[in-house]
Amino acid sequence: MTGMEEYNTGSESSFNSEEADSIVKECIESVVGVDDYSQNLVNKWTAGIVERCLTQLVKQGKTYKYIVTCAVMQKTGAGLHTANSCYWDTAMDGSSTVRWENRTMYCVVSVFAVAVA
């Protein structure tokens, strides 16, 4: 049932992941920038990054549904491994994952864009 709504008979080209990369990187840097990991602020950061990314992506004006996830991990020497995969319209839909780090933390932001009718 739900499959129907995602199809776009649409006119626009497919998802531009490089552009999304740069948008996301800019969002991360503007929210977190050079700060060190802080337990008090990290909630604000993740919320801020997600919201900002989303508003920027929506501003592009394309008829896409966006899903943005953001993970911030403190650098304590532990390892972090994530993976994702999707089953969708490979022509129209796309995703992009941005890894960013500074001295004290890692930040992984994933953007999934699904074309909409």
Binding site: M1, G3, M4, Y7, T9, M73, K75, G77, A78, G79, L80, H81, T82, A83, N84, S85, C86, Y87, W88, D89, T90, A91, D93, G94, S95, T97, R99, E101, Y106, V108, S110
Partner: protein, 633 residues
């Protein structure tokens, strides 16, 4: 409204085959009594009907349904061909059903109908979906590429201070207590009580064989035994002459005079049947804290494969006992070793496998308390040079292996080097380092000798970290290096000597890349050379023929001032002056360590030695320049 949104209504409709659906479901109808025909009409109108449906519909007159009929009957489609459906219909996604069966006959199978309806509903929906899919056509579903994010865990460098010793057992007080008890027990049988005697015997015989063994192997006993045996050995080995007469009446022979004239006298020889036989002495070092302690490291014993390959023994000159003060061993041959300069309890060893091991004489273990890892971050080639440089508060252990890798370590933490540096000459040639020396007081600049016969100066820090200059002159691998260390009015710390397989010892200055002088008295591989720590113009060298030579440059630069040949002429591997400058230790290829006393007239510098040495150096320089001119002409 899309067909999809209508479906729930029809679903509800199917469940409530009475008045409610009329009111609830139908969006267009407000009047219940007109609902039914309207419903049926709207159905027919709203559905864009195909010829097929139209026929069925118009052919059927719509009947009035009573309350107990399944209204839904109208809406239940026959299994129909899905391809006729279109998108934009408002009402339910089904055809209006077949009205073949009479309402009365249907009402018997009410529930049955309901279930059927539901089943059909779902199927229709699915079919409808598929229709849409097929209609769309161009869309393809596929798996996207797997996106992975990986952050590797960081190896946590942990400080592991394993040199903490166990708490000391109160062996002395225990012993005393035992002694007291024994006395009591012996005192009591003197009393007339035979019964008491029996009791004491019984209590004395309490320990079984097993318990005795247990006691013998307990840690407390072992540490006491080791300490105690050391003390007892020293006491037994003393040959003190209690009858010595200080008035000198008994001294007939003038041994003292003979000895006064002697230049190099063998004082002690150290060897151990189990630990040094068939091994070669690889390194010697005097303890900075206790001048009577001498450490010697050995390589493996080929005749005893089950014994540990690497052995380091600490010998004590103060007492006459012939066994080592401390015995340390490790799994790989120890190629270089030394006392850690600012940690008097630690002995550092560099091994053939590239591991650096640390022994502690406070622990009772003979195996290393700390080891560096065998990894590419540390050394993977034999470590021929280890040295502790720095000051009391800021010191590093420097180690260089034969592949030219230099690592600096902190003695607290040998799990990873603090710093490492590849010694390459002119960006390409790795230097195979066999010996290393730091000038006195310098922690940054040092000299290394390599297998290709060249000596290099290098520095540890700074923009030019690495090899700085090359000093070419030897025709064979450089075996030993020593920087001038005798402090005095004049600073000679730019001088260093190197010994090599080419039978010579060469004198260099860091100011010039050509050797200042070459000492060519030896007729065999010269294995080691060392400046005296007190006399500015004195150095010792040893060679393969078993000769120990002392050169005093202020006396003569052509021949050694004193020379002695070791008994049996074994190849002498190492020579080390004691800090006092009055004793020399040599190690040979048979595993023996000899300690020689140097005659005072040689080893004690007079006040003018430094100025004389300045003159000597000037002469050497002059003769070198002359020789060069002649050569150029």
């Amino acid at each position: 409204m899309t067909p999809k949104t209508c479906l729930p209504f029809i679903f509800i409709l199917s469940f409530l085959p009475s008045v409610c659906p009329f009111v609830v479901c139908h969006p267009y109808c407000m009047h219940t009594h007109s609902l039914l025909p309207y419903l049926s009409h709207s159905l027919t109108h709203s559905l864009s009907l195909t010829h097929f449906d139209l026929h069925t519909l118009t052919a059927q007159p719509l009947r009035v349904v009573t309350e107990d009929t399944c209204l839904f009957h109208y809406l239940v489609p026959a299994p129909m061909s899905p391809s006729n459906k279109s998108v934009g219909s408002d009402a339910g996604s089904q055809d209006s059903g077949d009205g073949n069966a009479g309402p009365r006959s249907v009402c018997v199978y009410n529930l049955h109908c309901v279930l059927l309806c539901i089943a059909n509903l779902f199927m229709c929906d699915l079919i409808f979906t598929m229709v849409c899919v097929c209609r769309r056509g161009a869309v393809r579903l596929g798996m996207s590429k797997l996106t992975q994010v990986d952050f590797a865990p960081k190896e946590l460098v942990s400080y592991c201070k394993e040199t903490q010793t166990a708490t000391e057992a109160l062996t002395h007080t225990d012993q005393k207590a035992d002694e007291e008890e024994d006395e009591e027990i012996t005192a009591r049988p003197i009393g007339d009580d035979a019964q008491e005697e029996k009791d004491e015997h019984d209590t004395a015989k309490e320990l079984t064989e097993e318990e005795k063994l247990q006691v013998l192997h307990s840690e407390d006993f072992l540490s006491f035994f080791e300490r105690g045996s050391r003390i007892v050995e020293r006491a037994l080995a003393e040959h003190v002459d209690v009858c010595f007469d200080y008035s000198g009446r008994d001294l007939e022979d003038k041994e003292g005079d003979l000895q006064a004239g002697a230049k190099l006298v063998l004082n002690r020889q150290f060897a151990d049947e189990r630990w040094t036989k068939n091994r070669v002495v690889t390194c010697l070092d005097w303890s900075p804290q206790y001048p009577e302690l001498l450490m010697a490291s050995y390589n493996n014993n080929e005749d005893a494969p089950h014994e540990p390959d690497g052995v380091a023994l600490v010998w004590n000159l103060k007492y006459k006992k012939g066994t080592p003060e401390y015995i340390f061993h490790c799994q790989s041959e120890v190629m270089s070793a030394g006392f850690a300069k600012f940690h008097p309890n630690l002995v550092v060893g560099g091994t053939y496998s590239g591991q650096i091991v640390l022994w502690d004489n406070r622990s009772n273990k003979r195996t290393p308390v700390q080891r560096t890892p065998l990894s590419a971050a540390a050394h993977t080639h034999p470590v021929y040079c280890v040295n502790v440089v720095g000051t009391q508060n800021a010191n590093n252990l420097i180690s260089i292996s034969t592949d030219g890798k230099m690592c600096s370590w902190s003695l607290d933490m040998l799990s990873q080097p603090q710093d490492s540096l590849e010694l390459v000459f002119k960006q390409s040639k790795a230097v195979a380092v066999t010996s290393m020396a730091f000038p006195v007081g310098d922690v940054n600049n040092f000299v290394v000798g390599s297998e290709d016969g060249s000596v290099y100066t290098a520095c540890r820090h700074g923009s030019k970290a690495g090899i700085t200059e090359v000093f070419e002159g030897h025709h064979g691998p450089v075996t030993g290096l020593s920087c001038h260390s005798a402090g005095g009015p004049v600073d000679f710390s730019h001088l260093f000597i190197s010994s090599s397989f080419d039978w010579t010892v060469k004198l260099w200055s860091t100011k010039s890349t050509r050797p200042l002088y070459s000492f060519e008295d030896s007729c065999d591989y010269v294995y080691d050379a060392m400046w005296s720590p007190t006399h500015p113009a004195l150095f010792a060298c040893v060679d393969l023929a078993g000769r120990l030579d002392l050169w005093n440059l202020n006396n003569d630069t052509e021949v050694p001032t004193a020379s002695v040949c070791v008994e049996g002429a074994p190849a002498l591997n190492r020579v080390r002056w004691a800090q006092s400058g009055k004793e020399i230790a040599t190690g040979d290829s048979e595993g023996q360590v000899q300690v020689y006393d140097v005659g005072e007239q040689i080893c004690v510098p007079k006040a003018d030695e430094w100025t004389r040495f300045v003159r000597t150096l000037a002469e050497i320089n002059e003769s070198r320049d002359e020789a060069e001119e002649l050569a150029n002409v």
